[in-house]
Symmetry: C2
DNA sequence: TTATATTTTTAGATTAATCTAAAAATATTT
DNA sequence: AAATATTTTTAGATTAATCTAAAAATATAA
């Protein structure tokens, strides 16, 4: 019914609409998918034909209800598989994404449900991203970027804003895992870096780039 | 490198060569794959080009070493996933095959290894078929068809020769699971059916068709 | 408000995987 | 050995997914 490729386009459109809250442009999709704009136009026609997106020439696209449901389910599968790989098969959080990109396309509602149950209905994936339930509802959480924490404010690392392996491995090396306790000791205007205390133990200095990519739940 | 479709052809060729111990014919492959003979010829050229099969026009095909390794690994993945679905996600043995057909194509050697470890290196799948190890070695087992058991001989159900849902469900209904103890009480020449005793409890009569599709390890 | 730049679409090709129909090769019967 | 049947291959099309190059539409800047 819906091909592997079509599913990937739906996910890309979902991701773009989520960020911009507005319709996704052909060019944006082509960048997200690493394909030519011409290929995107072709595919948009096909997706519109199947009533998965709202498409008008030159106007960009949004997901229909049907398209949104499919995209949400893909994200659900993706993130459940990531939890499985990390929790049950001992993969690290920088390895799970690529394999989950493949696993998310396995078509079986029963499998998704059973996997969810087996994992005891996790609400967040290994990167702190919310896992929608079978009805497509996401759990929201109050979170800010570490960047937005003032001196002396405390919080817990609950997610990452960048998912690259290099960033995740960097975090590992400094024990900045999900759940880590952080207290901002000092902010340096010069380069926007911050000195923080980690888990009431070592102090360390984090660059502005790191601070912009860590989600914190204030405490 | 090797597409989903090419993988399915390799599996089909493996299966046919295994049974007949001889090269697989175009027609046999087309039946196994539910495609036209013309499509098979096309694909055989492509697989030969990639050095996955030995192919000569009109002569049928055999797998090369490379093709055999790939096919064996697919079977390994398939059967490991079947074990996972049954043992960990509580699927029944008539449900696991179709989902495993999809899962077997996930490309990650590390995933296969980790899954194998997680399942504690099973040697047989839910239908009693052997699971090759990472080097491609199958565990062999002395087994006969229930058909070949004489009166008063005993044994344990270790596998099935037919994998259809209807057969597996039939076995479930009569508690003829893997591990069941069977003693042949009487053979009826008239229709080749057998009266057997199951687990030292109930007696029941099994048709010739059932007896031809149950593998027994004599005891 | 015209000129320039950017984005998007169309036109025309390519490749993998499939098909049907017809031709060629091989196998089986008479 | 010739006739007939079966299997296999070729020829020619189709569909999904992709591409490049060029044209058309829209957005931005002078
Ligand atoms: Mn991911
Ligand atoms: Mn994730
Ligand atoms: Mn199977
Ligand atoms: Mn099996």
């Amino acid at each position: 019914m819906v091909s592997h490729t079509e599913e990937n386009y739906l996910k890309a459109i979902f991701k773009l609409s989520e960020k911009d809250k507005i319709s996704a442009s052909t060019n944006a999709i082509s960048k997200e998918m690493n394909t030519s704009a011409a290929s995107v136009t072709d595919m948009l026609k096909r997706l519109a034909e199947k009533d998965l997106i709202n498409y008008e020439k030159y106007k960009g696209v949004t997901l229909t209800k049907k398209g949104n449901t499919l995209a949400t389910n893909l994200i659900r599968c993706h993130r459940l598989w990531e939890v499985f790989l990390l929790e049950k098969l001992d993969f690290s959080w920088d390895e799970v994404h690529d394999i989950a990109e493949q696993l998310e396309h396995i078509k079986s509602d029963k499998l998704t449900e059973r996997l969810d149950r087996f994992l005891e209905y996790p609400k967040f994936d290994p990167h702190g991203d919310p896992i929608p339930d079978a009805e497509g509802n996401f759990t929201y959480r109050k979170q800010v970027l570490l960047n937005d924490l003032k001196e002396n404010e405390k919080g817990i690392v609950v997610g990452v804003n960048e998912h690259s392996s290099s960033f995740l491995q960097y975090l590992d090396r400094h024990h900045l895992n999900l759940g880590a306790q952080i207290k901002v000791l000092e902010h340096f205007d010069y380069d926007s870096s911050k000195k923080i205390n980690l888990n009431d133990q070592a102090d360390l200095i984090l660059s502005s780039k790191v601070c912009q990519n860590l989600f914190i739940q204030k405490s």
